[in-house]
């Protein structure tokens, strides 16, 4: 156990006499907490996950890594002290950051770390009373959250302490505590809400959508907010002038801090103080009163172990009879693929990308980031007016081409991700079945990704472009889109050396991945520039469309005829 855990354990065991009087078995309590903390230390955290799994060193001291990361995040919050001139404005922003980031950190931890369903089978059959078990779980949660909260707020504490002195620091610590309780309540409420509207089986999916949403909002906010407001406006920003200020709890916290720091008794200050102190109390009360009773039981069902599923739910006749392949999907597969492995792969990829959480977690956030990028591009090109886009003059042409070629990046992400799966071992099916040309599996997958992720973009983009610019844009639109398909086919041809869903997710460098990455960036840019140059020559455009379609077809065909020699054979284990 590392010193940090030992310290927390020591601190929380100080009232051990009191625990014993409550009827808690102290030896068991310590045993559970110790083992839980050791396990926390060995559990890969979010930082480790993004790195790689195949590290030869077993994960140890994960706690320290997480804490270091939290300090970094916390220092980042200090940015808020650069905004405006008065501490209330600054602290409102600080607390907004804090609540938002704490929530997004904790939302996944609650299921994976704090409610370990294995406890039910490992600890509960042992002679341990309920009080001991509940206290152990509670103390573990407190330790876990402290390990995030304390490092996250230390930079803020130092700043406040230095600038405003001791009294300000005390107030700040008090409010951080209150805000943390409020955040935990928020997450609880979200959990309960999700459990109300969905089944425990789908719970993890919904939580991951939340995480995706958080990531995109965070990224978008980080990128866009400073751009939306000019530096001068930012420096002069004053929350007091905003009408909606009372709607944000972080404003209450900021005002309360002002109250504690100055001890001025004005109505808004006192109201805020009372609100911020009552908020956590009310939150805890609501959680205990309404949420807690069924909460643990429901959470324990989340694991999705087969016997915990409600045995009474039998799929209805309708569900049983309904084929899992919709008619539309069948049609698509018939139009775009040849019979056999290619079509199978097309359908397989379609379903896997829709159902695998792994895939969605990797690909959907990047879609969100790209949308943010597009918005930034708009904002950056201030010289472009709506009229210019409509008339396709000056910068308008640039924005149009930019969006068109940017839309392909999303596809690139999806295509590169298609070989990965956490159930990668199931790829044995490709090897035991008599597949002559594995390329058909690849081309099926590529076509599936194109149809699933590009078709909606095509429809959306065409509709908008034709509505805004008019029919005259159609040739350029078609060329742009054909080029995207061509690019994706090329990327697929070059980078797909594994069968779909057959590789373990690893970030570590595949040989030549840098070159490939470079290629996948430069080719679209090159094509975009070329397209920009020939934009106004209709005849050239038409000719290029024909060429692009032929090239695309050829490349897709080349993928389909890839032989086993082009496929990396993986030996599992």
């Amino acid at each position: 156990m590392n010193p940090v855990n030992r310290f927390f354990l020591y601190l929380l065991l100080l009232p051990s006499r009191f625990y014993e009087r409550m009827g808690v078995d102290l030896a068991q309590l310590i045993a559970i907490l110790r083992i839980k903390l050791v396990m926390d230390d060995r559990r890969p955290n979010s930082i480790h996950q993004t790195r790689q799994k195949k590290q030869n060193k077993p994960i140890a001291l994960a706690t320290l890594g997480t804490m270091l990361f939290s300090v970094l995040l916390g220092s980042f919050f200090l940015m808020s002290f650069a905004v405006g001139k008065d501490p209330v404005t600054q602290l409102t922003i600080y607390f907004s950051f804090y609540i938002f980031l704490l929530a997004s950190t904790l939302i996944s931890d609650f299921t994976s770390v704090l409610i370990d369903v294995r406890d039910n089978l490992i600890i509960l059959p042992k002679p341990i009373n309920d009080k001991t078990f509940v206290l152990a779980r509670l103390l573990h949660i407190i330790i876990h959250i402290s390990k995030i909260v304390i490092p996250m707020t230390v930079p803020g504490m130092i700043y406040i302490g230095v600038v405003f002195g001791f009294q300000g620091l005390i107030g700040f610590i008090l409010l951080v505590l209150s805000a943390s309780f409020f955040t935990i309540f928020l997450i609880n409420a979200v959990y309960i809400l999700i459990l109300r509207v969905t089944t425990p089986q789908k719970f993890k999916n919904v939580i991951s959508y939340f995480q995706i949403g958080f990531a995109i909002i965070f990224y978008g906010g980080y990128q866009l907010l400073p751009r939306l407001m000019s530096k001068a406006a930012l420096a002069n920003f004053n929350i007091e002038t905003a009408g909606w200020k009372w709607l944000t709890p972080s404003y209450w916290y900021a005002e309360s801090w002002q109250f504690i720091d100055s001890f001025t008794f004005t109505t808004p200050l006192v109201t805020s103080f009372l609100l911020s102190m009552l908020l956590p109390v009310a939150s805890i009360w609501i959680v205990i009163r309404y949420f807690a009773p069924s909460f643990n039981r429901k959470l324990s069902m989340i694991s999705g172990s087969s016997d915990s599923a409600d045995p009474t739910t039998v799929p209805s006749k309708d569900q049983q009879n309904r084929s899992t392949t919709s008619k539309m999907l069948m049609k698509f597969s018939e139009w775009f693929t040849q019979k056999g492995p290619e079509r199978m792969s097309f359908l397989h990829t379609w379903k896997m990308t829709g159902r695998s959480r792994d895939f969605k977690m990797k690909v959907y956030p990047s879609f969100g980031y790209l949308i943010v990028y597009v918005v930034i591009m708009f904002l950056n090109s201030k010289k472009v007016s709506f009229d210019m886009i409509r008339d396709q003059t000056g910068g308008g042409k640039f924005v149009f081409i930019g969006i068109l070629y940017f839309s392909g990046f999303m596809l690139m992400m999806a295509v590169n991700q298609v070989i990965y799966s956490d159930k990668y071992k199931a790829a044995w099916i490709y090897y035991v079945t008599p597949v002559k040309t594995p390329g058909a599996l690849l081309s099926g997958a590529v076509k599936s990704i194109m149809t699933k992720f590009y078709l909606p973009i095509v429809v959306l983009l065409s509709a908008t472009a034709i509505a805004v610019i008019g029919p005259k844009v159609i040739p350029n639109l078609i060329l742009g889109m054909c080029n995207q398909l061509l690019i994706i086919s090329c990327v697929g041809y070059i980078s797909l050396r594994d069968l779909p869903f057959s590789a373990m997710q690893m970030m570590s460098g595949k040989t030549g991945s840098f070159i490939r990455g470079l290629f996948s960036l430069t080719i679209p840019m090159l094509l975009a520039v070329l397209h920009y140059l020939v934009y106004s020559y209709l005849l050239v455009i038409l000719l290029l469309i024909v060429l692009s379609v032929i090239a695309c077809w050829l490349v897709l065909d080349a993928i389909r005829t890839k032989t086993w020699n082009n496929i990396l054979l993986r030996n599992y284990d």
Partner: protein, 258 residues
């Protein structure tokens, strides 16, 4: 006759509207090896979970060594060793850490525990991997750790749920031998399994449940007398299958035709 060590009287349990146990009555005596069998969904694991104190909202009475399970679950749990079916364990720990933790939960003295852990793991041939994290372990190795964790505190009652799954042939022999030796020591063993040939050999009393009811109870010989001289597998099929099983096989074969 001595007092039963486990006694279930009119035990009912429902999940929502579905009744899983419909009045189970059983008296089990010390030193018996009970083979507890039944088709999937018959209520086997529900019974086991009740006995282990994992499910407390059942109706009826469960006495273990004369103690009512609902009155003092902690006292009951300290007398029971449980080996769950799925290899559920904290696999980031090493076997020694995991078993040490188990021993602490049973409030065992530390020296006794570490000595016993050492000996058990060595006997199972795990001495080389005693201090390695279990996430790299094979299914059989995990099962050995689980079996050790169920026996560690020398319980009077041992509940085994498919204890042989994942074990290699030699380990199977060890565990089967272990079961009969434990029974000779006076331990009561509750053995749940789908492997009829093992149940037939290991247990001296077989309890067959189907759809929440006990439909047969007796030694293998007694069952044979009632049901004709068949193997346990055949008796099981005869009593629990709704349709003829060879018909099902025929249908499977027919699936090849058009």
């Amino acid at each position: 006759m001595m007092n039963p060590i486990i006694s279930l009287k009119n035990v009912y349990k429902s999940y929502g509207t579905k009744q899983v146990l419909k009045g189970i009555n059983l008296s089990i005596y010390p030193g018996q090896v009970i083979g507890y069998i039944g088709p999937n969904g018959a209520g086997k694991s529900t019974t086991v979970k009740i006995l282990c104190g994992l499910i407390s909202d059942y109706e009826g009475e469960v006495l273990i060594e004369g103690i009512n399970l609902q009155d003092d679950p902690v006292a009951v749990k300290s007398k029971i060793g449980y080996v769950p079916e799925l290899a559920e364990l904290y696999d980031v720990l090493t076997p020694v850490e995991f078993l040490g933790f188990m021993a602490q939960l049973y409030n065992m003295p530390e020296e006794l525990a570490s000595d016993r852990i050492n000996r058990m793991l060595t006997a199972f041939g795990l001495e080389a991997s005693m201090h390695q994290r279990m996430d790299t372990f094979s299914k059989g190795m995990r099962q050995k750790v689980l079996i050790s964790s169920g026996l560690l505190h020398n319980p009077d009652i041992i509940i085994l749920d498919e204890p042989l799954s994942g074990l290699d042939a030699n380990s199977v022999i060890i565990v089967k031998d272990l079961i009969s030796k434990l029974a000779k020591e006076g331990k009561t063993i509750f053995y749940c399994s789908h492997m009829m040939d093992v149940v037939e050999k290991v247990s001296d009393r077989i309890v067959l449940i189907n759809e929440g009811n006990v439909i047969a109870d007796g030694s293998f010989e007694e069952l044979q007398q009632q049901q004709g001289n068949q193997s346990l597998e055949q008796i099981f099929a005869h009593m629990t299958a709704k349709e003829s099983l060879s018909d099902a096989a025929d249908q499977l074969m027919n699936a090849f035709g058009n």
